[in-house]
Symmetry: C2
Subunit: 317 residues, 2 copies
């Protein structure tokens, strides 16, 4: 059983690195710090490397111990990738993964490419953090209040605050259990989902103003350029949530956000009831989940917009 | 025990009326319809009277059976008030309550005036619907999927989607149980809390554009005029949530919305951590709770704005 292998490899290793996907969200950081805090209960040497980590997660235990970089020659006994569907998304840090003696991949993306020696992937889990509940229990780790807060951060992020369809009985039962061990669920919720940075507010205002309803109001579209982000002095993560502005308006099935990157546009798609946006994004070599997916389009804004909308509208009823 | 009395009185009565507070929200309507659907499992004659019922709740079972009015001479064996802290808030319908042979009051407001023959009030419950879980169980009612949806509607409304501090272990455990009996929690959440009307979206866009940060970013201010509401064809309730646009931005302690009424402005105030906005509003003969309050100011926009901000800033740290 994979969990037996994972346990064995963690027990054998003395120098372990924890990695997650680029542009990390609450599930990426929550699962990385949960695993880090769990393994710190042992005597092993553990690194967690995340180059750009949004400050809103600074309330999590060991946030200050996250490394932004590491000596290129470092060779780890074991590398653990969390919440990462593809080795390419480890960004500049795939090197440590590839160089490690043994690799583990724990994730919940249905598009996971099974890139490690041991892959523990459950696409039914609404968050990687929810998978970690099982993994940590199997490893014999005590889930402390601090680890619980990390796990809850991922769960709240990836369920949209217990809102998305994937939210399961285990999600609610675990949250109830966390309340029992003293986790302030309401405060974690506020920090993770509710408080908006000034940058996010400014981008929200811009994206709201540009929001268009197309195809009889079934598609909502908006965009953000690099210039916008510079103008409002946006920081990592400040674009989070913009794609939901359109998704929550009555009648909208698909919401699309285009965000300018270096020479291309990143598309974020969300759907409400029936359009599989992962299928839409796959047409542009992207992917994700049925109700939340992404892709990159190497084209100017207007062309990228048209191509995405043309693809999305094929799926409308 | 009060629950024994409640059970006995329900069993004895053959004509029962269910009432709730004026301007009913999801907890008022959810608890009324949960009780109605529960008592319909018996052979009794049951009325639920709610004069103005927002259409967003029309997905709930028996919504179409809600009476908007009733013959003035009708005398009930038993009247049950739900989610109502004060008999005055039953509005024009206190008459049926006062005329009933026996009265029951089931509620969660700490300010409840214990106005019935039998009062089952638990201020620790985050929603009246959460109290009904216990009550219905005691009555031997089977909580069907349909009743579960009504209860969940109240719970989601009054916990802000599992967000507010009062959300308890029971809230999460019951929601997990509802998933188990087939309730589509995600869909109920979406209908109750997430879907924005076109009018609300349009007003949000206007209020966002006007939002100002004052007093070192501790006060957020915005406003909506009658002309705005006419222009976007706004309906009842379309201004809901506008005051939260500013409240959720980092650093903001007090958020103020002025909304033009007939010849005056209605002020809505929210605070996050320490300002008692009820105290602020009392200076204008208004009031409410410490974190959410309102008042009316008979002055032009600019003057109303200045007066409110001058009062609010006295409370800042």
């Amino acid at each position: 059983m994979t969990l037996d292998n994972i346990k064995e490899e963690i027990e054998k290793a003395s120098h372990i690195v924890i990695l997650t996907h680029e542009s990390p969200d609450g599930d990426a950081i929550g699962s990385s710090l949960a695993m880090y805090n769990a393994l710190k209960q042992t005597n092993k040497k553990i690194d967690v490397i995340i180059p750009e980590c949004p400050e809103i997660y600074s309330f999590l235990t060991s946030y200050d111990e996250i490394k932004k970089e590491e000596n290129e020659d470092t060779k780890y006994d074991l590398a653990i990738a969390l919440d990462c569907g593809d080795i390419k998304r480890l960004d500049g840090f795939a090197k440590y993964f590839e160089d490690a003696k043994v690799t583990i991949n724990i994730d919940h993306h249905s598009s996971n490419t099974m890139f490690a020696d041991f892959n523990f992937v459950n696409p039914d889990a609404p968050a990687c953090c929810q998978i970690l509940i099982v993994v940590l229990e199997f490893l014999g780790v005590t889930i402390t209040k601090e680890i619980g807060e990390c796990l809850l951060t991922g769960i709240i992020t990836d369920t949209g605050g217990f809102k998305f369809a994937g939210t399961s009985r285990e999600t609610f039962e675990f949250t109830s259990w966390l309340l029992g061990i003293g986790v302030n669920v309401s405060e974690v919720y506020r920090r993770v989902l509710e408080i908006k940075t000034k940058g996010n507010f400014a981008l929200t205002r811009i994206a709201m103003d540009r929001l268009e309803f197309l195809e009889d109001g079934k598609i909502a579209f908006t965009y953000i350029t690099k210039e916008d982000e510079e103008k409002v002095n946006a920081k990592t993560g400040d674009h989070e949530g913009l794609v939901d502005l359109g998704r929550t308006v009555e009648g909208v099935e698909v919401s699309i956000l285009l965000r300018e990157a270096d020479g291309f546009f990143k598309g974020s798609l969300r759907s409400n009831e029936y359009v599989n946006v992962s299928d839409v994004c796959m047409m542009f070599n992207g992917g994700g989940h049925a109700r939340a997916a992404g892709c990159s389009i190497h084209a100017p804004l207007q062309e990228a917009k048209e191509r995405l909308i043309n693809e999305a509208k094929k799926h409308l009823r």
